[in-house]
Structures are given as C-alpha cells and as structure tokens.
C-alpha cells in the first residue's frame, strides 16, 4: 500500500525541523517528517554545550535548547511526525521505503522531498592508523552520545585525535566527568576549532594541544593500551625521532564529518566534490526536480543557525515546487570555487525570482588567511563583487550575500576566489 503526501522530510534534526515549519508556513498542509531516532532534534540533543543560536535567535543556547524551540512548534503544527522510522530507500520518482516497529514496512510517495539526514563521522579507517584493533577506539560523536545521552563513560585515560570543535568539546566533557584527557592531537599546524573552544575546553583544563601531531600506532590486544604520537613536518612527513608512546585506554577520533550520502547516492544524485553532498541550486534543489537537500547532508555546517536558515530556503523551494510557481532562468549559472576556496554552495543558480534581492552563498576557504577579499568574477573574468574579510579560517564557514542585480542577464558562470587585500576594486561591497 502506497500512501501519497505533498512533502516528505527525511531527518528531524534542526534542518528537518526548520524545513517542516517553514513549509507549513508556506502553505503546505500535508507534511510528513520521518526520523530514525526516538526523539526529535538530531545531533543537537547530544550537543549539550552552549554556543548555539547567536545568529538565529540572538541569544546563546545549548544544543537541546535550540532544538526544543523548534520541536515545540513542530509538535503544535500539522506536521505528521514518525519517530523510530528509518528510511531505507528513495527512488528517483520520489517513492520512499521506510521501516519502523509499529507499522513494519512503510511505502510512501511524495510530490516533493527534503533530504535532511545530517552527516556521519569519519572512522579510523579513513585515516589508516597502523596497529591493532582493540576496544576503546571510537569517534568523538559516538563518545558524546554515550556520555550525554546513554550515560556511559567510554574510558578513563583519553587521547583525542583531531582538534575540530567536536574534539575540543569532548575533551572538556570527558575531563568534567572525571576522565583524564592526555592531549589533543592535530595534524595541521592550526586547530580548526573555534578559539573559544580551544581556550575553554583545553586551556581551562590544562589539556595540551599538540599541533602537527598524529597517532602513528595503536597498541593493545583486547582493550587499547597505548598509542604512539608522532610529529609531522609541513609536508605531513612523519618525523620518526619524535615518536612518543602514551598510555591510554581510549582514543577519540574527531577526524572529520561527511554528509550522510547513502540515500542520496542510491537515488542517483551526483555528489559534489568539496562539499561532499549532492549538487544543488540556490533553492537547495538537487539534480532531481522536487528533491531538496539542506543542513549537514548537503554541507557540513559548523553553525546550526545556518542550518536552520538553509532548511527554510529549501522548504520555500519545495513549497513553490509543489505549487508549481517556480520560474527557471534562461541560462543556469554555474558557480565555481576558485583559488583559495574549497567549495561554494549553491553550486548553481537556476531560478528567476523577482522578490529576492540577495542570494546568500556559503563557502569554505582552504587555509587561514588575514586581510583578504572574497571576489566574485563572471565568465569574462570581470569582477562583479568583492567582500573584505579581516580573517578567514577553514573552520568557520564564510557567507556572502550577492545582490541579484549585479548578475547580468547573459551570465552563465561565476567564480569565487580569495584575493589579497589592496588590489584595485570595481565591484561593490
């Protein structure tokens, strides 16, 4: 039996929640929200630290508080929620197969779909550490869930590999709960985490941050017993004389997040290099018309506020798609990341929309730089806009709002790049 719905949203993290609310606001009445976990809120429910919402709510919240503001509204709305429901497959003609313990197999068909499945963590294999395979090696996010939700401490003497925000936050979390955190290792010459997290999560607790260091070997037959640390040079060559053995029973890996691509890939969506998720236009519509993607499934965000915002963009797109009120541009504009930039979202601009004045772009730079400009050029190489920045880092997503009036009719390509400050400028800020 196949049930039909206007809009099906997959994943009830901040992206799915915000999308559901916005779609309802845009007049869509038949919305289904599918979530495999037993609660709404996604990854936010385990991010119990503060640091969320400054942008969106203008106040500093913890992850669960941020989530609950949306959850309360969704519960009051007409959105049909199904928890503990795992989506197994989506076909390119928008048929969805899911399973849960109440109904068993569920078959749905949707007019529009919003993908909001979030991301997953890279594991040890992604970085190939030699040695044994004992218990006690887990990703930082798993440890976070263990500690903050399930109520278990995975170990007592901890080394953390990776100094992104999750690694830093978990260093503090484990220290607070009574574990000994022996150090955080980072292979890059800089931490990709926020300065604030470095200070408040490591320095406060006297936890050393070892830059240009990595784990070289893992010891232990049953449970982890020790790891070898090693320093690397600027070309990531290991320096054998710096090898040092550290006893620990737990190794937390915080070595990167990747969009949860399984369903996207199975439905035949092209994945974009750089951002890692599906290719999308400015409405966050994928290559399959009527299928949208937002939040971490599209690009790994560091600020949830942007996730909510992006979800709203996708939801409005989906609502307009359902109502068939979208107008294509004559020519699609392809957005290219240029020098100094890893990726830009959206990957292209497809629609005409008189009501909007600005198109917001998210981008990640490839390394920290000071006093630069983010420059947008058209296919002829002429600069159409430029945005000054005092400092950019790969750990913090940049956004720029491009006024639509600056894009001339015939444009079919825009290139974003980083240029040094002080170069002659002819666009406007």
């Amino acid at each position: 039996m196949m049930r039909e719905h206007q809009l099906v949203i997959i994943g009830a993290g901040p992206a799915g929640l915000a999308a559901a609310l916005e779609a309802e606001k845009a007049g869509i009445e038949d919305i289904v929200l599918l979530e495999r976990d037993e609660y709404l809120g996604g990854i936010l429910q385990q991010c119990i630290h503060n640091g969320f919402g400054l942008d969106y709510f203008g106040e500093e919240l913890t992850g669960p508080e941020y989530a609950e503001r949306f959850i309360d509204d969704v519960r009051e709305s007409s959105v049909k929620i199904r928890l503990k429901t795992m989506v197994l497959n989506i076909s390119s003609d928008k048929k969805i197969i899911a399973i849960n313990e109440e109904e068993g197999m569920i078959f749905l068909k949707a007019q529009a779909i919003i993908l909001a499945m979030g991301c997953r963590e890279r594991t040890r294999e992604a970085i190939k550490i030699p040695g044994t395979r004992p218990a006690g090696i887990l990703t930082a996010g798993t440890a976070q869930r263990f500690i903050n939700i399930e109520g278990y401490l995975p170990g007592k003497e901890v080394v953390i590999l990776g100094s992104g925000d999750i690694g830093l936050i978990m260093a503090r979390r484990m220290a607070l709960e009574g574990a000994k955190v022996k150090g955080v290792l980072e292979i890059m010459p800089y931490s990709s985490g926020l300065v604030r997290n470095k200070v408040q999560c490591l320095d406060d607790f006297g936890i050393p941050l070892k830059l240009q260091h990595t784990v070289d070997y893992i010891y232990g037959k049953q449970r982890l017993e020790a790891v070898d640390l090693i320093q690397v040079d600027d070309n990531f060559n290991r320096l054998p004389e710096t090898r040092e053995r550290i006893e620990c029973d737990t190794l937390l890996l915080s070595v990167g997040l990747i969009p949860e691509n399984e369903l996207s890939r199975d439905m035949g969506l092209k994945l974009a290099p750089g951002s890692g998720g599906p290719l999308v236009n400015e409405l966050r519509e994928t290559e399959i018309p009527g299928v949208y993607a937002c939040g971490n499934v599209l690009q790994v965000h560091d600020l949830v506020d942007y996730v909510s915002e992006e979800a709203e963009v996708a939801a409005r797109g989906a609502a307009n798609f359902i109502r068939d009120s979208l107008k294509k541009r004559e020519k699609e504009i392809i957005i290219e990341p240029g020098s100094g930039i890893n990726f830009v979202i959206p990957h292209k601009i497809s629609y005409q929309d008189e009501s909007r004045k600005l198109i917001r772009h998210f981008l990640r730079v490839d390394e920290p730089r000071e006093n630069i400009k983010i420059v947008i050029r058209d296919e002829a190489g002429s600069r159409i806009a430029s945005f000054g920045r005092e400092i950019v880092t790969p750990g913090e997503m940049e956004t720029v709002k491009l006024p639509e009036t600056l894009i001339s009719e015939g444009t079919d390509r825009l290139n974003f790049s980083i240029e040094a400050e002080g170069v002659e400028e002819n666009g406007k800020q």
Binding site: I99, M105, T123, Y152, F205
Partner: protein, 503 residues
C-alpha cells in the same frame, strides 16, 4: 569437576569445527575447547576466504591432495549450512612472455590432478572478463572451480551444526595441560582448572598446535607469517569479477584482489615472518606493500575506498605441509598442525581424514571406541535476515507481523533489525559479544564501524545475559567497551586551572 568425553578437540578454527561437525555424525561424546570468546578468532577469521581450485599446489603434497578433494564438496556444505559461497573462478595473471609458458605448465599439472575447466585466456578474453585490469596484463589461467566464502561464517556454522548434532563447545576454555595414563591420553586441564576426561585429543590449535603438542612431549615449532589486508567499501565490490592472483612466487600465491561474499573488495595478503603469535598489528610498510601489489594488478584502485585493514597469521611448519597424524605415544593424540593455506579450502577433507585416523586408532585405545553412525542433521535453518530481502522488501512485512522486533533497525549502516540480533542471541551456540554479533548479523560492521549501534547492541546483549552494559565486551574479557556510568565518577575539585596560561 570431571567430565567424560570420547573426543576433545582443541581449537575452534575452521579445522577444529569441521572435525567436530564430521565426528558429530557418529555416536560420540564430543567437546571442542576454544580459548577465546568465539570460534573463528584465530587464522580462520583473517584470511582471503578463497576456496582454491587446487592447481597451485604443484608439488605432491598432502595439502594439495586435500584441497582438490575438498573443493567439489563446498556447494553442498554451503547449501546445508547456509553459508554464502560463490564459485566465481580465479585468474592467475601473466605480464611477461615467460610467464605464459609457466601458466601452461600450471594448467597441465592441474588437469593431470583432476582439476576441471582450467583454461588459458589471451589478452582479449582476459580484458573481456576483467575490463579494469592492468592494461599490460597479457594472459591468465582461469580456474572456474575456485570460489569465495565467508571463512568465519563457515566456521561458526560448522560449530552450530556440530552443537545441533550433540557436540559440546566450550568457549573461553584454554587447554593448558594434557594428562596421560599408561601411555594414553586421559584428560585436558583448562585455564580455569577444570579437568575434562577424554580418550582422544585432537590438536587443532592453529598457531599454538606446537604448544599443545609439547604437552605430550612432541617437539616441533610453528612460526607465524603475517598477511595484511585492506577491505574496500561495497561501492567498489564489482571492480573485479574473479579472484585475481599475480604470478605466484616460491613462497606464496602473492597479493591478490577478490570480491568478498559480502560484496566488498579485498586486497592482500603480503607474507612476512613475525615473532609473536599474537602480532595482528597492521603496519604502515605492510599496507604499502599490498597497495603496490594491488596497483600492479589494478592501477585504478580507489585509495579512499578502504574501510578496514586487518592482518592474519599463517601457522607454518618446516616443510610447509600439513601434519595430520596420530601419535604412537601417547595413544589417542592426533595432530592437525601446520594448517596454513589452503587450510580453509581443505577443511572438509581434513575432517574426513581425521575421522579415518580415529577409526584406525580406535581399537588401540585403552577403552574401545567404535564409530557408529548417529542421527545426523547436516542442515542449519536460515534465520530471517533483512539483507536478504533487499529486493523484495514488501515480503519482510510478513516477518515483521510475526515479531515487531523485525521492524526496529539497530544497525543503520547494514540495516540489521533488533529481531535478527535477538534471534542470534537465542541460539544454542552463539557468542554474546559485539564482535560475535557483528560477524553473525553484520550489525556494527558497516561504514561507521558500530559507532551508532555499538551501545544499542551492548544493551541488547546486557539484557539478554542479565548483566550490566559495562560488562559487555567487544571480543571477550578485557575488551569491555565502557568504563563507568556517568556520575559514578567524580572529577577532582581543582579540575580547572585558575588562569589560562597555556602555551
């Protein structure tokens, strides 16, 4: 505690369990001892999983004979035991001109020994079968009877079937001593001090067979030789269609590439002697070596497609052949040692050979032993597995309707339901560890390597065993995955530094 057995088998690898299953056809009291928390934790878990056709055993050896004898039996075994097995065929690939004549010789040796279907493929035929292979590959020897199997599922299934037919399996029971009485074996002592009486001891202890043999005064040495592997994501499982070997060297069959029955791609092994029989560490150099080997067969191997690396240890004896024989003294002791490659492929014939040896020595035992056939059920029932329903998901609904546990996905990567895990834990023979469950159901074996489902499976195991999740292990005592309950541990008062002044 005293127990009476006719036969005690030491070692729960593919060999020990094959013997247990074979002997459970007879009216015998059988006990298999395995030191670890599951069977198939030694060499039988980490190998290439290939059922060789047999041609590569060019010399007149026991292993060559047993391999060739066993190969045709695998269809039946796999069907009976519900073990995934595919006869995908193997290719030995030649690059140099000289190698082609070697292949021709190999082919002739194989045909003489009764291996069927051997065929030399020219470059074009090879390319047709393996489009992505190295462009300079010139020719190949095709052995269509070669196949792939899950070595640990085979071992587990043999164990289950033996138990079903009355054998007993004791996990976490390491044999530490063997007692003899008037020139015959009489009892095994295990690490926990139990003494188990038996008239026959079968030494199938893999890497440790020499240590078991030493307990009855035998003197030989088993040296471990390491083989390392990379396992690739399922996305790349169809890069190759056969088991692909390079030209073999004197010591080894070389670094091969093969699909696995689970649909992944496997690359390895190298072959390096090591000191320690527990040294299963993967080394940087080793991984580089197999990577080089892989690239010389398939230049486009995806470097970022690797989802796991592991190593296995070959148990080699001087002379490099199997040693399967009964001792004259003490009576009742049978060695099944030096079972290196192709031990997996030879297990069925090894088991029947051991049965024959047992029949031979039975009359000489202090108390007579007769091999009388028993009621034997060669089959295992297949439990519902969501994986098998991928193409007909609406049919899963029938299974769900019988038990809603089959609607709750526990492992998100491999799509394993609670029902499957619970059913596994209810079996007469199982291993209630995370690894035990992972191998039997695939739960926790996917891309996230148990990141999400690990705690959930731990809870199911804890509930089933009536223990705390803190006591659940990955692979037996000492491998607990959790340390404490949050809040039972308190941090120091002066946890936080007064003034951040860190460099």
């Amino acid at each position: 505690m005293k127990a009476e057995y006719d036969v005690i088998i030491i070692g729960g690898g593919v060999v020990g369990t094959a013997i247990a299953r074979e002997l459970s056809r007879y009216q015998l009291k059988i006990c298999l001892l395995e030191k670890d928390a599951d069977v198939a934790t030694g060499t039988s878990k980490a190998n290439s999983g290939i059922i060789h056709a047999g041609y590569n055993a060019a010399k007149e050896t026991l292993k060559s004979r047993l391999n060739i004898e066993s190969n045709p039996q695998f269809d039946r075994i796999a069907r009976d035991l519900k073990v995934p097995f595919q006869r995908i065929g193997s290719l030995v690939v030649a690059f140099a001109k000289e190698d082609i004549s070697r292949l021709k010789k190999e082919k002739q040796v194989g045909l003489d020994k009764g291996i069927t279907g051997l065929e030399i493929l020219n470059q074009e035929e090879l390319r047709q079968k393996e489009p992505e292979i190295h462009p300079e590959a010139r020719a190949a020897l095709l052995a269509p009877t070669a196949g792939i199997i899950s070595p640990y599922l085979l071992t587990i299934a043999q164990a289950e079937n033996a138990v079903k037919n009355g054998a007993e399996i004791r996990l976490k029971s390491e044999a530490v001593d063997i007692k003899c009485k008037s020139g015959a074996v009489s009892a095994v002592v295990t690490r926990d001090g139990s003494e188990l009486n038996s008239r026959v001891m079968i030494n199938a202890a893999g890497l440790y067979a020499d240590e078991i043999a030493a307990l009855v005064g035998e003197n030989y040495e088993i040296t471990p030789r390491k083989g390392e592997y990379n396992l690739f994501d399922k996305e790349y499982g169809d890069l190759v269609n056969h088991v692909i070997f390079p030209m073999p060297s004197e010591e080894s069959k070389g670094i091969l590439i093969t699909p696995t029955v689970e649909g992944n791609l496997l690359l390895g092994p190298n072959s390096n002697p090591v000191e320690d029989k527990e040294d299963l560490a993967v080394t940087r150099d080793g991984l580089e070596e197999i990577w080089e080997g892989g690239r010389s067969l398939y230049p486009d191997l995806p470097a970022d497609g690797v989802i796991a690396s592991f190593a296995g240890l070959r148990a080699s004896l001087p002379g490099d052949d199997f040693k399967i024989e009964a001792l004259e003294e003490p009576v009742g002791f049978i060695d099944v040692a030096g079972i290196q490659s192709p031990g997996l492929s030879s297990a069925p014939a090894i088991a029947t050979m051991v049965r024959d040896i047992l029949a031979d020595i039975a009359p000489a035992l202090p108390e007579k032993l007769a091999l009388r056939e028993a009621d034997f059920d060669p089959e295992l029932k297949k439990l519902p597995s969501f994986q098998d329903y991928k193409e007909r998901l609406n049919k899963w609904q029938d299974i769900f309707l019988q038990n809603p546990d089959y609607g709750e996905i526990i492992c998100r990567c491999e799509h394993v339901t609670r029902g499957e895990i619970v059913a596994e834990l209810k079996k007469e023979f199982t291993s209630a560890t995370l690894n035990g469950i992972k191998r039997r159901t695939r739960a926790g074996g996917g891309r996230c390597q148990g990141g999400f489902c690990g705690p959930r499976i731990a809870e199911i195991i804890a509930e089933k065993l009536g223990i705390s999740p803190l006591e659940v292990t990955k692979s037996g005592p000492g491998s607990e995955i959790l340390w404490a309950r949050v809040k039972d541990v308190k941090p120091d008062r002066d946890l936080v530094y007064g003034l951040g002044d860190n460099k």
